[in-house]
Amino acid sequence: MSTQLSVKADAHVMSPAPCRILSVEQELQDTYTLEVEPPGDDWSFLPGQYTMLYAFGIGEVPISISGDPEDSTKIVQTIRAVGAVTDALVGLRPGDYVGVRGPFGTAWDTKAAEGRDVLIVAGGVGLAPLRPVVFDVLNHRERYENVTLMYGARSPSDLLFASQIHEWRGRFDLEVLITVDQADDSWRGPVGVVTSLVGRSSFDGDTAIAFVCGPEVMMRFTIQALERGGLTDDRLYVSMERNMKCGVGLCGHCQLGKFFLCKDGPVMTCAQMAGSCWIREV
């Protein structure tokens, strides 16, 4: 007929590529990090992107890539076991195979952050999609001014990548502020909501860029605190989450207003989100 539509030639977009599991590490009670062999030599990803991980015969889920973008020898994915598919994925062993599609989605805009103070604010497992941008910024540290990581978790036993954080704390070119929502007396660090960390860091509110990721409620209040600190909505980046099934903008589940979060997101600026996206049940 008169229509001739082109078809996606890349097999790994619609069909999963079988990739070998290199290691499975338990991070927290329900959170694991998988290291997977990439499907090809040309594998690369941008900080903030995710893949669709497929457990053969069971199903597929979007999982953030949490590794160093300069290391193309492995795909590092941090998974929280919350259902049938993620339970299956974290139960895999080195040598098993997992299906990989991707990487998909938009990235944390490190180019826009060059020459400015960078604030990286993570809540809970939101540190996973932010870890690649911490790596990226540290890999090119001279491009940025003051860099601060603010991280809030439920309790001391829920701090993700604890040994990594410990390593980062030892650096003089990175400010690390941690807080937990609740703790017993053995925790000698700050207790309180992550937004309280914003007031404790000094940054140039007129030029700083912030990358924020965590539960939606936490992001909403963190943004308010950052706005009080002078940041405008074109310099505030968030990672939005919706039900993602296809990863390519086909199935419609991930829509947030006019955006298909799987490809127009998950990283978006607050300026893009302006108004309609924070409305009740949108």
Partner: protein, 382 residues
């Protein structure tokens, strides 16, 4: 002016056969269970000859017309997306191997001839071309690229039709291989046929026909114009996106929710809805799996499920999602309105919710006006 031919009913039969001979599976309107559905047809006898559909909000009845019209009705609950993205399509197959698993290529899709496609159907296919074309989906493209479309111009719209509001009908202008207009006047019964593509011309050339007379052409065009003037409903599209997106917190959405059953009928009958879900079907011995695409609907509770629960647990926001996507956000996503004015959602809604009426109500209750009784923002600006 395109070349126009005249064929008789036998010519229509010959057309169906010619398409079948060319390897097409011809699918068109036929009666199933007191409704006009789309299914395989082999001759004009399979068409709903002499039948008319009485459609209104929440109502659909077939009745005898008392004549031999082949196309004396409009659209039923199905659309051609039944064939372009059939629910249950296997789009990936995998077999477990020692080292992991490997991909098995899915089967070749059939070649369809969409017979009796109304202008709104043709428009819907173009809308879906935009949607699936932008993601380069092999399932849709595989079926659409090989399809042949025989369109039928409308001369008797149903009260639920409003294609004229969206410029998608009642006559086709492009996007078809052959377009027919049925002329039935007492004992005269013939069909004007125009080719819209090279293949369409080839097929028409193989049929017995004569050139159309000028007065026949004029008469047929007049019937289509009259149909446009007799539309049952109207959708104001001027500023529609701004009105809808500016009223996301209008309490009226919850008013609609009191009637809406979230039954998903509207999304199932809509020819442009594209939301889908993916299911994995594992063989009993766990060695083979198929990934299958099914239709999904934004009205289901778990459509928007994320860790912690659905993003839209209330029916009002779910109706709002459907309406604002179809009429507003679609414009930002694909550069056009997603609705083609076929009226199916009005007919097949069990409680008769009317998309044209609800859009008008939101406009009427626009919260962006300064106060009740004062002119709307738009009026004040003029």
């Amino acid at each position: 002016m395109k070349e126009s031919l005249v064929i008789e009913r036998e010519g229509v039969d010959a057309l169906i056969s010619a398409l079948a001979d060319r390897g097409y599976e011809v699918v068109g309107p036929t009666v199933r269970g007191q409704t006009i559905m789309y299914d395989t047809i082999t001759s004009t006898d399979d068409l709903p000859v002499g039948l008319r559909d009485r459609q209104e909000a929440g109502t659909y009845r077939l009745e005898e017309r008392g004549d031999g019209a082949l196309f004396g009705y409009v659209v039923g609950p199905q659309s051609f997306r039944k064939f372009t993205t059939p629910p249950g399509t296997v789009f990936w197959k995998g077999i477990r191997t020692d080292g992991g698993f490997e991909t098995v290529a899915p089967e070749e899709p059939p070649r369809y001839a969409f017979f009796g496609a109304r202008p709104c159907e043709v428009a819907a296919l173009k809308v879906q071309d935009n949607v699936y074309g932008s993601v380069r989906d092999p399932v849709y493209a595989g079926r659409r690229n090989q399809s042949f479309t025989v369109a039928v111009n409308c001369t008797e719209p149903a009260p639920t039709c409003f294609c004229d509001s969206l410029d998608t009908g009642p006559g086709v202008s492009d996007g078809y291989d052959i377009a027919l207009t049925e002329v039935l006047d007492g004992n005269t019964h013939y069909f004007l046929a125009e080719a819209g593509s090279d293949e369409g011309s080839e097929v028409l050339a193989s049929l017995t026909s004569r050139d159309a007379l000028d007065e026949e052409l004029v008469g047929a065009r007049r019937m289509v114009v009259r149909a446009a003037e007799n539309m049952g409903r109207f959708l104001e599209t001027d500023g529609l996106k701004e009105v809808l997106l500016g009223n996301l917190e209008n309490p009226y959405w919850d008013e609609i929710a009191k009637r809406c059953l979230s039954c998903t009928n509207c999304t199932l009958v809509c020819p442009t809805c594209f939301c889908s879900s993916i299911e994995d079907h594992l063989s009993l011995d766990g060695t083979e799996t198929e990934r299958v695409r099914t239709w999904d609907s934004c009205f289901t509770l778990d459509f928007s499920y994320v860790n912690g629960g659905p993003v839209r647990p209330s029916p009002g926001p779910r109706y709002r999602q459907w309406l604002t996507h179809k009429l507003a956000s679609w414009q930002d996503q694909f550069g056009e309105i997603g609705c083609v004015g076929c009226g199916r959602c009005i007919t097949w809604c069990p409680v008769g919710i009317d998309i044209t009426k609800e859009a008008a109500e939101i406009r009427e209750r626009d919260v962006r006006r300064v106060a009740v009784g004062t002119p709307s923002v738009k009026e004040a600006a003029e």
